[in-house]
Amino acid sequence: MKKITKLGAVSALSLIIGATAAFAEDIKIAFIDPLSGPFASTGTNGLHQFEHAVDFMVNDEGGVLDGQTMEVVGFDNKISPKESLIQLQVAIDQGIRYIVQGNSSGVANALTEAIDKHNRRNPDSRVLFLNYAAVDPALTNDKCNFWHFRFDANADIKMDALTDVIAADDSIKKVYIIGQDYSFGKAVSAAANKMLGEKSPDMEIVGDELHPIGKVKDFTPYARKVVASGADAVITGNWGSDMLGLGKSIIENGFEGPIYTYYAAGSGMTAAFGDSAKDRIRLISQGAINPIGSDRARDAYNSFLERHPDGNIDQSRIYNTIGMLAEAIKEAGTADDVVAVASALESMEYESMWGGKLFMRPQDHQLIQDMHIGVHTDEDIEFPYDSSTFGVKTESTIEMASMDSPTTCEMKRP
């Protein structure tokens, strides 16, 4: 009898130990983005922000559930969809349940399809796809699925907010649209044309132009056309060196009005624009940095700077992604059952430390959030970019932008 009790006690103990060992295992998040090649700096900066976000928001707070910590594992996809699918398989084989990715909608499209297929075929090792930056509207429309959540506003939502501000500005009567000659540049142009036409029919679009992507040496001739058209404002979706070249050229060659952009800050661009673009460049983004949304966000930014003195938090949605994931895991009571976690994420309302409410729209898994339009300046800047004195200061905010925007998503739930 005594023996049996002993045996029972030992086995019970070992079970408990075994269970806690299983519980104490980290929640791993696979970060699949470019860590080498021409877009490596964007990817690496994103990884740094993710690593800091899990430490600051989860691990330093004692973890989730029974003290489980989170860990971000970097996978280099060289910004290739094919490579991403290989890395996805590696991540799944390592038992990772959460995939984050953002650079290039082409990659996101490949991943969301592959994940949908994988989850249907392997109900035991399902994964969730948390998209923090790929803004192709199709991902939450025709190509939506239950496993994909987008934490950035899509290109249409951003243009909707941008055109709200442009339409409300009485001094803007003529607009020039210019962009890179590929799908995103065309999407920006189409959305701008459509939305400006609806919101402000008497506004004149004096130029609508696409230039070869990454090949233009000197933007002066384009800048001349912008000036000659008599435009009051310019809209562009350009990024990288195309953004800097176009912006600098337009300003240097005598254009006086504002330039409305998506990606004209950070990655060296803010420092390179410097004084020349002061009060000229306007940027649409979620998450305000100047003024900062809360004391907690201030702490977050300062502790990030301690770790990466030359870095920028230019994707504050990464913190929302981690915050909401942690919240969903707590609500579901498990990190292993991703269906429960996804159900908790759906229609979650979350208070962002960057200010404003977030709402994960259940119909299409598109996060609805405040959109901010900021201006490039060195006044009232608490957190500048690129170790310069310049940063982006919020000028106007559109609350819960495009809350009721239509979606063609028909989601099948497991």
Binding site: P38, S41, E209, L210, G214, D218, R224, S241, A272
Partner: protein, 318 residues
């Protein structure tokens, strides 16, 4: 009318910048018979060096020192790299410069990172020189024209009026004879290579603030430099100048005016097909001049090669 004048000035700036790059390359090419694929990389190095120097001692010292360092580096590459590879023939030389270009790009990314550098126009020149019908011409552009023209005149003077120039010109065509006369031909080669890369460095120093200083800057300009020297004719300074200006103006005007191909085709009497969306030549009909502006120099090069294989001012016939 005013816009034409503005475009002439813009094209002149682009062309002269191209000239500074191609002048060095054309000399090196005609001497060694080797396309230096790394030439545009020296241009990039010029911009990066000047940026780093300008942080410490200002733009003007950068303009002075950076090309010097680039020139020394170039001379070193010739002395310790190309000269050794040379004995194995032209193909290894070509591969050597190709590898060098990749190496320099990786090095630049390693040292300065992949971001854009905040290399800016100096404050003294940061104003509008004058405006033509609302189009401002920045003072910096006038400065660029001034520098390029002085370099052209200087080079022309050295090559045609001085003893050094005569030896160089002779060494271009008859290296063995020049050597037999007691001149140190390898040293001349090293000097020309150094000066050529230093010229590319100058171009980088003054182009960096306007065209952007980033790891891809060499790649963007790389091929157009070769086109320039082929059009101009190998080894000819005048050829390099004329070809550079031609390319500068052609691309600037093509980008400035939205000339549609359909207008041209209509103009020569071909009528637009009615159902465009199904037409096999749809892309040809809808193309506009800004879209093809950057390939016009290549078309020009092909035409030149067909009708005048030695280039506009090329002398060497083999």
């Amino acid at each position: 009318m005013e816009l034409i004048l503005v475009n002439l000035i813009d094209g002149l700036v682009t062309g002269l910048l191209l000239f500074m790059l191609s002048a060095g390359l054309t000399l090196i090419f005609s001497m060694m018979g080797v396309l230096n694929f790394a030439h545009a990389s020296f241009y990039m190095l010029g911009a990066y060096f000047a940026y780093s120097i300008s942080l410490a001692v200002g733009f003007w010292m950068g303009l002075l020192i950076a090309p010097l360092i680039v020139g020394l580096l170039g001379a070193g590459v010739e002395r310790y790299g190309l000269r050794r590879v040379h004995q194995y023939g032209h193909v290894p030389e070509l591969i050597f410069t190709f590898g060098l270009a990749l190496l320099i790009e990786e090095l630049v990314q390693f040292i300065w990172g992949k971001n854009q550098m905040p290399y800016d126009v100096p404050d003294v020149l940061n104003f509008t020189a004058f405006a033509i019908a609302g189009n401002s011409i920045p003072a910096y552009k006038i400065f660029m024209i001034f520098i390029s023209v002085s370099i052209f005149i200087g080079l022309l003077y050295i090559l045609t009026k001085t003893r050094v120039g005569m030896i160089i010109q002779a060494a271009l065509s008859y290296p063995r004879t020049v050597e037999a006369l007691g001149h140190n031909v390898p040293l001349i080669f090293m000097g020309v290579f150094g000066v050529g890369t230093a010229l590319a460095g100058v171009a980088g120093v003054i182009a960096g603030p306007v065209l952007g200083t980033f790891p891809g800057m060499a790649f963007v300009l790389g091929s157009i430099v070769f086109v320039t020297i082929v059009i101009g004719g190998l080894g000819s300074l005048w050829g390099a100048l004329v070809a550079s200006l031609l390319i500068g103006w052609i691309t600037t005007f093509a980008k400035s005016y939205n000339i549609a191909m359909s207008d041209i085709l209509n103009g020569i009497g071909i009528s637009t097909p009615e159902n465009m969306s199904e037409h096999p030549l749809r892309d040809l009909w809808t193309v506009t001049s800004p879209q093809i502006a950057d390939i016009l120099p290549y078309i020009l090069m092909v035409l030149i090669l067909i009708f005048r294989p030695a280039g506009l001012f090329g002398k060497r016939e083999s």
